[in-house]
Symmetry: C2
Subunit: 219 residues, 2 copies
């Protein structure tokens, strides 16, 4: 019984039954062990869940050679897509990543890599770090809106639109005008559109910092 297998099993169970329903007894049963054994590897459930979160981040794989020759924008798009795809594969675990700043080894590795990418393309260090944070929040926030608890499953997308449209038109005219368009556009396109906005902003800030290096810190 190694720690890795416990975390793997915990993630699998979360994928199946949700994070709320995951029980240490259930986890111990799946591992054909007892709950007390789990405490030999983790200080408690919170630490276990933090490791599950980092385990998910470790699943985001972008082979370095895949980014060769790409512009920073193309490279960031590739990384963001990989991250987004991984999150979509674990909708039940999304809140683990959203509710706190991940600080596990895979989180640190991912940040190091993306900041390095920005630095290599002429971003000042302050902008690079903020760019990482902004993109990370965007991807996680988008995934939650799409898959998180309270969000509609793909099957009741039309149902959500109906809910919007059932609201009092006098009270929510703008929301209702947006409802039809928002629920008809494929979510994948929406994702790229919003990410594009963010990258447009970064592009502009980068251009400014290259022109006026002394203002690079971004005040």
């Amino acid at each position: 019984m190694d720690a890795g297998r416990i975390v793997d099993t915990a993630l699998k169970l979360i994928d199946e039954v949700g994070i709320q329903a995951l029980t240490l007894r259930m986890l111990a049963d799946a591992l054909e062990s007892g709950t007390a054994t789990l405490y030999r590897h983790f200080t408690g459930k919170d630490e276990l869940l933090a490791l599950v979160a980092d385990r998910i981040l470790g699943e985001v794989r972008v082979p370095p050679e895949e980014l060769d020759g790409l512009s920073w924008r193309e490279a960031v798009n590739a990384v963001a897509e990989a991250f987004y795809g991984t999150l979509c594969r674990h909708p039940n675990a999304l809140s683990l990543l959203a509710a706190q700043v991940p600080v596990g080894p895979n989180a640190l590795r991912a940040r190091e890599r993306l900041i390095t990418l920005f630095l290599g393309h002429g971003f000042p260090v302050g902008l690079a770090a903020r760019a990482f944070t902004a993109i990370g929040h965007y991807v996680i926030g988008f995934a939650i809106q799409q898959h998180g608890p309270g969000a509609p499953g793909p099957e009741d997308h039309a149902q959500l639109r109906d809910y919007y449209l059932s609201l009092d038109p006098a009270a929510y005219p703008a929301t209702m005008a947006a409802a039809d368009e928002l629920t008809s556009v494929p979510v994948h396109e929406e994702f790229w559109f919003g990410l594009g906005l963010l990258l447009d902003g970064l592009e502009q800030a980068r251009a400014v910092s290259l022109r006026e290096p002394e203002a690079a810190a971004g005040h």
Copy 2:
């Protein structure tokens, strides 16, 4: 015993002891009642927490006259600041807003208002709705990074920098280069900087949509 007082008390307790430590017994005691009484107003703890989340959103107050005569950018800045300020006053409740898409009455009202603001300034409806989503995620994500569980309190900000600097320099050169600058810049400035990036992107998308109306949906 009305529902409003229960939600108010629940939020106050969450502010004090954290969301994890909030117990229905504790809440009932504070209300000088029993746990069973709570179930006469809510179907369960989940619904109560959703109402607490919406209660927080209701705390975001921006008097309409305050936005009169402002550009869309200035108006969005004012709304974002009010939202951000409210979130900072309830750091223990942040995960309630992050882990799911709020759909309570105050959430709907806030969305309606901001989308209306965008529409009034010439944004096409699809862009307006996406702008709302992107800004909401940015503000919540930023607040979590600053105040959320696992994030450093204001007192151990320097401690976090030390943690970063204690990492293996060979393994995380970029992170460590960014660590000092990131932890020395006031967080408030960081917030405005990132929001500015987002608004730059929106500005650009708006300009494009005004020039080429047929591409307004954003594909």
